[in-house]
Assembly symmetry: C2
Homo-oligomer: 206 residues x 2
């Protein structure tokens, strides 16, 4: 009972997932991949694909989950850096932009499927984004001492802007990404400033 069988199966499963990720690019989205092509890249027969996923959609959802997980793990590290005395806004943005740079295909998947043609995909991506928003809102509520309502609104706006900046970065040469990061940092500061000003406004403290 060494489980050599389950082990080999897992290996093939990984090969499929990796093959799919590696075929994503600026010019190729998930819906543009074919079962046959992914199988070819993974060195298995097309029909063997079904031993691991019931169809391409199931593979795609797995990839979204994995991508979201990877992103969340990275941001967890960012929070450590923040705890060690880094600026919250700058550290978060820079960590995020690093992720976009080094895992472009993962980010592309999340970005595109967020407005893709499958409701399940859209829901999965939004779930990942909501994780972000909730965590950031917790922080803002605690640190900024503002109402939950305001904190959530602020967090949503911030995450939206950061995500959008990541999307823009994809089309830019590496050299041109720094000013973009600085821009979004300033935009987040703008929001933080606005939230501070609004903190005691009656509309958001009832």
């Amino acid at each position: 009972m060494s489980g050599v069988r389950a082990q080999q199966k897992e290996k093939t499963r990984r090969a499929i997932i990796d093959a799919a990720f590696s075929q994503l690019s600026a010019e190729r989205s998930f819906s543009g991949l074919s079962l046959r092509e992914v199988s070819r890249e993974a060195n298995i027969a097309p029909t063997s694909f079904y031993r691991h996923f019931k169809d391409m959609d199931e593979l795609g959802l797995t990839m979204v989950d994995e991508g979201g997980l990877a992103l969340r793990q990275l941001m967890r590290k960012a929070r450590q850096r923040i705890a060690d005395g880094g600026s919250i806004i700058r550290t978060s943005v820079e960590t995020f932009m690093e992720f976009v740079q080094h895992h472009s295909n993962v980010f592309r998947l999340l970005l595109r499927e967020r407005s893709g043609t499958s409701a399940a995909f859209r829901a999965a991506v939004n779930r990942e984004i909501q994780h972000f928003i909730a965590e950031l809102a917790d922080y803002l509520e605690d640190y900024g001492k503002c109402s939950r309502e305001l904190a959530v609104m602020e967090a949503e706006a911030m995450v939206t802007l950061v995500f959008n900046a990541g999307a823009e970065a994809l089309d830019l040469p590496a050299a041109a990404r720094k000013p973009l990061a600085e821009r979004v940092i300033n935009q987040l500061r703008l929001i933080a400033k606005g939230a501070a000003a609004l903190k005691h406004d009656r509309r958001f403290s009832e």
Copy 2:
């Protein structure tokens, strides 16, 4: 020289464009359309398609241009309503959300191709969005009496948030869209407030 020929050609061209727009949906993106299917819907032979567009990409770019134009025209009306005494933020957001509701397929096209697989498409959509940002920045610079730099940053953030809200609205039943509009209105106010607070900040007035 009645031009009955050119007239008929234009009619067919329109039929193709309309057919393509009508086939877009939540479940179907532009890249999922086929030349044959569009031609079928437009009641022409597949090979006749080439009399009007050299390939599907050329059709798509035409659609992006048309969609962007329609959106800009609508927002021009919004500015009239503002001039007649409406709130700038509320009027703009509500006008935009009406567009999303009544021309979902047009908005979906812009939304998806912004992060799509064709660099030309992405550039075309971004061109449309830049129109928006520039116009809004003009207004903010004038009305808010702030620096160009701050105005552009503020406008970019606002347009990003509104666009994002439009995307979310697509997956919501019509009834649930009003709270979403209110939310984004509050987010824009947050930014406006932040910009006002930062207006005389040294960093943005040099």
